[in-house]
Amino acid sequence: MAILRAILGEFVGLFVDDGSLAVALLVWCAVVGAAMKLVPGLPAAGSGVALLFGCVAILLVNAGRTAKLRMGKR
């Protein structure tokens, strides 16, 4: 049972390390998806660019914030 729990924990850990990064990425993807549904004239390439650079921005903000927090704790 302990092994199963460890495997399950490891599986979740595959995708979620910093919860806020995972949530922000999922929310951004949902926002882009909703925008594509609600604004029919939205160019597909524009949605792709928004999806890509939104994810990149989330990653960079998260990395910078984590670095600050980690160094502050040392």
Partner: protein, 258 residues
């Protein structure tokens, strides 16, 4: 169909699966080597074989189930999972590259694992030591689940990608097992953070691509746009190292000034 003729998606699937699996196999090999060295090879190999049987069963059950899911939904779910998986690796590699997190040290893991295994007491049954077997089983199964996920997820996004992804993982497995047999010690000289950085870049690019396809985005140039996504992710990763490094340096200066 020859997967080499499938274009950029197949090449990226092969490379992504190869690099990610290589890292996972190195981690599993370190533990199996520690178990074999301290408590005997019979137990280490028994645990490894049992884990491989369970892994094969998991893949055989879950693999065909995925074919029942509609393609668009599968692309979206797999894309999101790959995006979370890749960004997690890229974030960690960025923080390690910036000196915020300590680098993964296979030698240190090998030393700590062998020390723990020497302390553990257990009676062997049928010539197999239960603690050693469970340790090898757990390690191979956990790392193997990651490899299986990468192969299935990368391949699930498009028709014909499974041979490319599976070949990447298989080549990595053979390479790591061969090296482990030859050198008989942990593969500590592998530039693990560079590999993880590369995997993070490739898998994140794949994640954005399949998520977009699942949302209905028609990428310009179709599969070729994967190459542009990889370039953007690589640039973002390198910028991330600089951003995290300078943020950490600013905090360190402030802390020292107090």
């Amino acid at each position: 169909m020859n997967w080499l003729q499938l274009g950029p998606a197949a090449t990226v699937a092969f490379l992504g699966a190869f690099l990610a699996s290589f890292v996972e196999f190195v981690e599993a090999a370190t533990i199996v080597l520690a178990v074999g060295t301290v408590r005997g090879w019979r137990s280490a190999l028994t645990g490894t074989a049992l884990a491989l049987v369970v892994l094969c069963a998991l893949v055989l059950v879950l693999g065909p189930a995925l074919t029942q899911v509609p393609e668009r939904a599968l692309q979206l779910v797999v894309g999101l999972l790959l995006l979370l998986f890749g960004m997690r690796w890229l974030r960690k590699a960025i923080l390690r590259g910036a000196g915020v997190l300590a680098l993964h040290d296979e030698d240190a893991i090998f030393r700590s694992e062998t020390a723990n295994l020497r302390l553990a007491r257990a009676t062997a049954r049928w010539g197999v030591d239960p603690i050693a077997t469970v340790t090898a089983f757990k390690s191979v199964l956990l790392e193997g689940v990651e490899v299986a996920f990468i192969v299935i997820a990368v391949a699930a996004g498009g028709a014909g990608l499974l041979p490319a992804a599976a070949s990447g993982a298989a080549v990595a497995g053979v390479l790591v097992v061969g090296l482990a047999v030859v050198v008989h010690r942990p593969l500590a000289r592998v530039p693990e953070n560079t590999l993880k950085f590369a995997v993070g870049v490739l898998i994140s690019a794949f994640g954005v691509f399949w998520t977009g396809e699942g949302l209905g985005i028609a990428w310009p140039g179709q599969d070729l746009s994967l190459l542009a996504l990889i370039v953007v992710m690589l640039a973002a990763g390198l910028a991330g190292v600089r951003i995290a490094g300078s943020a950490a340096a600013r905090v360190a200066v402030r802390v020292e000034a107090r």
